[in-house]
Amino acid sequence: MDGNHILFCLLLLLLLLQLQFLLLLLFVVTRDRTSQLSALSQLLLDPYYRTLEGYLVLLNKEFAAFGHQFEERLGKSTGKETSPVFIQFLDATWQLIYQFPQEFEFTAYLLTFILQSSFSGYFSTFRGNHDMDRHRWLRLSSRIENIPSIDLPYSSLFCYLSILVTMSPIYHGLLINPFYRPKMTCAHGRICSYIRPRCGVNDLKLWREGLLGFSPDIISFIVGNPYPSQQENIAMTALRLQRYVDSLYDWIA
């Protein structure tokens, strides 16, 4: 065998190895982890993200602004890239809420709400894979549907949630955790408060309401304020109950 033959065999071998690895590669692309990991670490460290507003800001930053492939992951296009990555992130948040019931201003209801809203097609937040896509789609849709651009913010889930919590005592009661204890802040307003979860498989619980689907206890979550005259009564009752919970905390302190 001369040098050329050996070279040829070596090249062939290299080519075969590459082919094998390329076949492997079809199944080994790991995407979407960056959003999950960075969002969860921030949730563990910064107590602002454990408030309702902060959590929505976190979701907006890590998934909407920095990009998450909602079109593929939620199964809207072909279905081959469908993956429960967003569901997994919400599940991990639920595990944290379960392990630290006093640390989070919002309840698990918020997570089920966000999960079901992401699939419903009602909100522009989950359209497109990133901000540029979303803006383009919104501009196009507003021209076709003849919607003035001033109305478009309504289609953001985060905007919808912040209005619900402020204006409707029913949703305030469902979304706000009465056992939440805000952290004391220092002079410049920012602190770092680390919560360390138990991560072993045996320490985690199955998130029934989210994964097993719709619970009939969830009331009409779209349009309508069906009981406007009862809003005040509900608000007063909620305030009284919150005061009672606070007094219990003072008593055990």
Partner: protein
């Protein structure tokens, strides 16, 4: 769980209107709603006046299946993409609804057996209902509804109708709320506000104009925060070295030790681990911004095998020796599996739970769903503890999504 009512398709969702008073199956006014809906698609406004127990947004429906059980009864199953399923036992009263004002519904043994089987499937709720149309055969109803759903999703009708109804509600019930909906309306403003809350400019960071028209990366936001030691041109050069232009950008800054959490995509280093000065400058700038002088920790979310396979494609992971060795940077693989493994785990979990009750641990453990959640949580804890100790972190997976 057995609720009796009418199944109605609106332009936003499929809902079940329950019978309000027990004793008589069909009330006059519910029959009149059914008769009014000449077209089987009812505008959502009418039905919101009533209490609904089940609502299935049209956008989340994956498929609808109808199986005829006997001449008067069919089993209708709706599967949704988020994992929920609904099962309805539909009684065909046909087009002569008005004739059955107070029917005696005789449920034979077969119907009870269906109910029992359905109750053993804890994740599914069973409802007994009629259809709010004149269609005699649920199969016809089903075919029309499936067509409607596919059309409305394709034409984005669901989204625009929702917007209309939402605006109507806001104007009717909450007329003074304009100032509230301005929050989250503009991502540039929101992100800037968030980074100002973190006081990034007090530290060694600054806002960059490099992506304000999505020039360097179409999938990144317009607001980017970069180390103060760099200028916009450095970012443009560094973005070429990262997959899809997803250059390292700050997401969070520790309030006291100024350790930074940055995210990026994999570098285009290839099997030889070649790196460029631009990327090295970026990494060193991130390291220098921490006030404790600790080395940069690079967290690669992939298993090492996947990273090597990506390297053969011309991408890969950082070359620590080129960056300056272990005193400057270190690399760790977090071993989290890919999206296809997640999908099969989720499907297996759903399947297992549909057959057994959740008390059976086998279906949960064999799908390894909790194992994957555990892996993600462990990775986050590792990152969080490094940040607490003052190590700047750069997280990436393959495309940095």
């Amino acid at each position: 769980m057995c609720i009796r009512g009418f199944l109605i398709v609106t332009d936003l969702r499929i809902i079940l209107l329950p019978n309000e008073i027990s004793g008589s199956e069909w009330l006059d006014d519910q029959i009149s709603i059914a008769a009014e809906s000449q077209d089987y698609i009812t505008p959502d406004e009418i039905v919101t006046l009533r209490r609904c127990t089940v609502q299935i947004p049209i956008g989340s429906i994956e498929d609808i299946k109808v199986v005829a059980v006997d001449i008067r009864t069919s089993n209708l199953v709706i599967n949704c993409r988020d994992g929920s399923n609904f099962e309805f036992i539909v009684h065909n009263y046909g087009s002569k609804i008005k004739k059955y004002r107070s029917p005696v519904v005789d449920f034979t043994l077969l119907h009870e057996k269906l109910l029992q089987q359905a109750k053993s499937r804890n994740s599914s709720y069973i409802y007994r209902c009629g259809l709010a149309t004149d269609d005699i055969i649920p199969q016809v109803w089903c075919a029309r509804v499936v067509d409607y759903i596919q059309w409305s999703i394709r034409e984005d009708c669901v989204w625009s109708k929702w917007l209309q109804y939402w605006k109507l509600t806001m104007d009717t019930y909450f007329p003074k709320s304009e100032s509230l909906w301005l929050k989250f309306s503009n991502n540039i403003v929101e992100l800037e506000r968030e980074f100002q809350r973190q006081r990034v400019q007090d530290g060694n960071w600054m806002f960059s104009e490099a992506n304000n028209r999505y020039q360097i990366c179409s999938s990144y936001p317009q607001t980017l925060v970069i180390p103060g030691l760099l200028v916009d041109d450095d970012i443009v050069l560094a973005s070429v070295e990262r997959s899809k232009g997803r250059v390292a950008a700050l997401v969070w800054l520790h309030p006291s030790n100024q350790a930074a959490l940055c995210r990026a995509a994999q570098p285009m280093s290839g099997i030889a681990g070649k790196a460029t000065e631009a990327d090295k400058k970026m990494c060193l700038a991130i390291k220098a911004s921490g006030s404790m002088g600790k080395p940069l920790r690079i967290a690669d979310a992939r298993p090492r095998l996947n990273a090597n396979a990506n390297a053969l494609q011309g991408k890969g992971f950082e070359n620590i020796a080129f960056l300056g060795g272990p005193s400057v940077a270190s690399l760790v693989f977090l071993d989290i599996e890919n999206i296809h493994v997640m999908r099969s785990s989720f499907l297996k979990l759903k399947e297992g739970l549909l057959v057994h009750s959740p008390e059976y641990d086998d279906s949960i453990t064999s799908s390894k769903w909790l194992y994957h959640i555990s892996a993600v949580l462990k990775g986050s804890v590792a990152i969080a503890e490094s940040l607490l100790m003052g190590y700047p972190i750069l997280v990436h997976c393959s495309d940095g999504w």
